[in-house]
């Protein structure tokens, strides 16, 4: 029985009515008087020099009001390609016209003179010396060369004795490792704990494999859109469907050299983000440039095809992974070498490669990760950025080891999981997290311990870990004469976060949830709020809301003390009214009465504020079990059961949490089984929903969600961020279930039917 009356309850979402009636205003719903329509002129080649840009024909088209190129960017910050394009879809110019069809027509009339260059799309090709190079970068050393280089430095620094013989030998070896000279490297990261060579030597079993994960798109329902309006004073207003209005404000300001306070970002309801809706390059900056040039409002809205060619999807990667264990199931060492496909710019989630350690006690760990340039658009965050990819590799390999040593997959994981106080490889000490509770919960709920399977059926288990982010935020609360409570803030609702904020405030102020409403401000009016990504909002804004509500309580009690002629510590706020604790006869005053009274006192209206910076987060675990059936003749895989558990700390709204668990699981399933951005020398070849498949409700049975609550010390009411963890295990969950069904492991996602058939053939079935 919960000690709380509003938090922990599945109340309806504050935005439910607006969403289901269509009243919610998305970016594309914004119309401004005299608005023009922008269209981006995009590269038709994946890699080419630009020898000329001729806008003259386009300018002559009736209805065209402006064309902007890099020459219009006074700061010199790169907005449009000038001398070289690096992917199909790269912006070269933008057109504004009185009508979207004219803008489209004009964009086609801009003549670009290209000189085509060789193209590279595969990361393992891109690192080779013979490939085209996208940028004039230095080469980087691979793991073995790095080890030798470090040793050489040590030897040459040591003047106590003569190392010339060893130096000569090592130098020769260093130079012979030619295939470890990597080209087109955008970034690198290296982590080491213990001694992996020693760990592998002590292992009874060592498994090594290469895992390939495709680039996938966030496929939010609403494509990127921006409406910009620059007035004659230079003030710029941007209507943006975004996860982070304050990031848009600073991004536009920085890119175009506009003073921060001369930009107001008005956020609209957001049609999905999943990490992909933070940047300013796609629509916001071009819209502002066009509006500045024309003096009229301009809308720039991407089509779905543009989303695929010039969105910022999740990076694909190739992970070479090696794990050593003992026959009794202790993991001794793990080594990863990852190549992340970062596209034309750096920025792939290479830092997440360290998550290949999972939540296990791996005494020896070595991780080398590289970002690699290819002729694709850049990448950005997608729900637990980088982690589904590495968890797929890590959890697949654990499954292999469990099979080889004949140990149950759940038991094997339980045996190796870290507990409170354990050393995290290359990290700090483990806090208290419900790792084992979460895995046991999913196993129990799925019927793992007495599982049965028919022909061509299989069971798979996998886990994934993630830690929510944290950032600054501010909230104001007002209490009105009717007792209603109004919250004012500037963070973007991301699938239920406003509801969680309202629940927290209602709980603290002891008022019914229905009495609490929310107003979202724009960047001119609202206090700063961190962006809605990284599972951050309920943690950060939830804490902020709690502080604001507590501040409001102080004000309420002070007022009530004045009104009831007693001291504040003799008062109690309960059920929406303040009562005197020790007094005869009992007296009380409702919040509405107090609010009315506040207008006539010298104190003024009841206003509370909360301002929150940062507090350490606690890791979370998601664990999943799937049961599948494979058609051995077509290769189709059907999910028969999917159970997904998660340590959420505390579920402020259990139904919303279940929604997150279901959504993340389905996105993970899609990545495992069908989603894949395909490229060839002409660029992205499946830029639409016909050949980029996202699942429908017909593809999966109901996902059974299991909520585990091990409170996070710094979370509001113990809550952790819940949005990202559920996608992390699913790629491996599905892969492991398919192995159990067909006896062969497919190490390259997605597991399309044809790959299943090929795997069966290779296995002689």
């Amino acid at each position: 029985m919960s000690e709380y009356s509003v938090v922990g309850k599945s109340v309806p979402r504050v935005d439910a009515l607006d969403k289901v009636t269509g009243a919610a205003q998305y970016g594309a719903d914004v119309h401004r008087p005299g608005m023009l329509y922008g269209k981006i002129v995009r590269s038709k080649h994946p890699h080419a020099y630009i020898r000329g840009i001729d806008t003259s024909e386009a300018e002559k088209l009736p209805g065209v009001r402006a064309i902007v190129t890099q020459a219009d960017v006074k700061t010199g910050r790169s907005v449009f390609a000038t001398d070289k394009v690096l992917y199909v879809g790269e912006p070269i110019a933008a057109v504004a016209a009185t009508d979207p069809d004219i803008a489209e027509e004009a964009a086609e009339l801009v003549k670009i003179d290209y000189e085509e260059l060789p193209v590279v799309q595969d990361v393992l090709e891109a690192i080779k010396p013979s490939t085209p190079r996208l940028h004039n970068d230095d080469t980087k050393d691979g793991p073995a060369r790095r080890v030798i280089k470090a040793r050489l430095k040590k030897l040459s620094d040591d003047e106590s004795q003569d190392h010339s013989a060893e130096i000569e030998e090592l130098t020769a070896k260093f130079e012979s490792l030619e295939d470890e000279v990597y080209y087109n490297i955008s970034a690198e990261t290296h982590t080491e704990a213990g001694d992996v060579e020693k760990g592998f030597a002590e292992s009874d079993i060592v498994v090594e494999d290469t895992y390939v994960v495709p680039r996938v798109h966030q496929t939010y329902m609403e494509p990127h859109v921006s409406i910009a309006e620059a007035d004659s004073s230079g003030k710029v207003t941007v209507w943006a469907s975004t996860q982070g209005p304050f990031a848009i404000r600073s991004g536009v300001a920085g890119t175009l050299g506009i003073p921060l306070t001369q930009i107001n970002v008005i956020p609209t309801t957001m049609g999905g983000g999943f990490g992909g809706r933070f940047g300013v390059a796609l629509t916001h900056v071009p819209a502002v440039l066009l509006s500045q040039k024309t003096g009229r409002p301009v809308r720039v809205q991407m089509t779905r095809e543009e989303e695929f060619v010039d969105g910022r999807p999740a990076p694909g990667c190739v992970i070479k992974l090696k794990t050593g264990a003992t026959n009794d199931g202790r993991i001794l060492a793990r080594q990863a070498l990852a190549f992340w496909d970062s596209g034309s710019v750096s920025g792939a989630s290479i830092g997440s490669t360290i998550r290949v350690r999972g939540v296990y006690k791996i005494p020896n760990l070595k991780v080398d990760a590289y970002g690699v340039y290819t002729n694709k658009s850049g990448t950005t965050a997608y729900r637990a950025p980088g982690t589904p990819q590495v968890a797929y590799a890590g959890e697949s390999q654990l499954d292999e080891i469990a099979r080889k040593i004949g140990m149950d997959g759940v038991e094997f994981r339980l045996k190796n999981m870290r507990e409170e106080g354990d050393q995290i490889p290359a990290g700090a000490k483990e806090p208290k997290v419900g790792y084992k509770e979460t895995l046991k919960a999913v196993a129990d709920a799925a019927g793992w311990w007495n599982r049965e399977k028919g022909p061509n059926q299989g069971w798979g288990v996998a886990i994934g870990d993630w830690t929510n982010g944290c950032g600054p935020g501010g909230i104001y609360i007002s209490v009105h004469e009717d007792g209603s409570v109004r919250i004012f803030h500037g963070s973007i609702d991301i699938t239920g976060t406003d509801t969680a904020i309202a629940q927290i405030v209602a709980e603290v102020l002891t008022v019914p949830y229905e009495q609490v409403t929310i107003t979202r401000g724009d960047t001119d009016s609202a206090p700063y709020a961190t962006g809605s990504g990284g599972s951050v909002v309920t943690f950060t804004m939830g804490n902020t809301a709690k502080l604001a509500a507590e501040d409001t309580c102080q004000r309420i009690l002070a007022l009530a003390a004045e009104r009831l002629n007693t001291s504040a510590d003799n008062l109690e706020l309960k059920d929406g009214k303040v009562s005197v604790l020790v007094q005869d006869p009992p007296r009380s005053i409702s919040l509405g009465e107090l609010a009315a009274y506040s207008l006539s006192t010298t104190g003024g209206p009841i206003v509370g504020k909360g301002s929150f910076a940062r507090k350490p987060s606690t890791p979370a675990l998601a664990a999943q079990i799937a049961k599948v059936e494979v058609d051995p003749e077509t290769g189709n895989v059907r999910v028969l059961k999917m159970v997904s558990s998660q340590d959420v700390g505390f579920a402020i709204n259990p139904m919303a949490v279940e929604g997150q668990i279901e959504g993340g699981t389905v996105q993970g399933y899609a990545w495992a089984m069908m989603e894949e951005m395909q490229y060839d020398e002409k660029g992205n070849v499946n830029p639409g929903f016909v050949d980029y498949r996202v699942p429908t409700s017909a593809d999966l049975p109901t996902v059974q969600s299991v909520i585990v609550e091990v409170p996070a010390p710094n979370g509001p009411f113990g809550a952790k961020g819940v949005g990202e963890p559920p996608i992390t295990p699913t790629l491996a969950t599905m892969a492991n279930a398919v192995v159990d069904a067909i006896g062969v492991r497919i190490t390259e996602l997605p597991i399309k039917p044809e790959k299943v058939i090929d795997a069966l053939k290779q296995n002689g079935k």
């Binding site: 069809d101 489209e104 027509e105 095809e305 003749e633 077509t634 189709n636 089984m673 069908m674 395909q678 070849v685 499946n686 016909v690 050949d691 498949r693 699942p695 429908t696 017909a698 593809d699 399309k752 039917p753 044809e754 058939i757």
Partner: protein
Amino acid sequence: MRNFEFFEPTTVEEASSLLAQYNGKARLLAGGTDLIIGMKARTEMPEYVISLENIPGLDGITYDEGSGLRVGAMTKMRALETDAIIRDRYTALAEGAAEVGSIQIRHLATLGGNIGHASPAADAAAALLVLDAQVQIGSADGQRTVPIDALFTGPGTTVLEPGEIITAFEFPPRPANSGSQYLKQKIREVMDLAFVGVASAVTLNDGAVENTRIGLAAVAPTPIRATEAEGIINRYHPVTKEILEQAAEAASAQSRPISDLRCSAEYRRQIVGVLTRRTVQTAINRAQS
């Protein structure tokens, strides 16, 4: 979308005259589920669009035990999918129609559009092939009939002359001891395009399988009949597992698939065999029940 002139004729003759007059620059609008998407993507930029919506008599399903089934070209996929007679006697057609897009799309998409678009992967085409459809073609000059086997000439092309419009499809009566099925290989359960589509239809005569028809979609430049496989099924009695396997191999061999971003030719060929075996078996089972 590029600007265009829009016509809403009320007779086939009027529509045909417009189509002939603007030959090469005009497109017929039926359900619009292919055309409008193409126009938005600027892969289709007709200067003239001629709607068939206001022409009476193009929409509707009629059935007569003697003369068989008539389906107007403007009949919606959803109507085919839900029609009791089609589900019972022309099952492969109902199943083919049910595989097109989503329910919303099927309330717009028409059989005439699906066939006239002449996609090699058209879900209804394989069913029409095995149910012996006759294509009614109208123009300002009159009517003619073309058997479905002779309609397609290549991806997106048909034997239709300038100004000709598909007006209806006629199917011979199907006895109670007949059966058919359409199966489609896809990745997504619904709203996916056919990687391979196979329809089979049979009639039983004293327990012997005859009049076998096997239609293949997405494995050749046009939807095709697997005539070799049909012959094998018709030739042997009873149709054993081995006979089915032989027919499957023959259908596979007769298919001419390509490799593309969806899958390889080799995989498509294998699936032709699998779905041929499955659909023939189901058609026989349905004929028996």
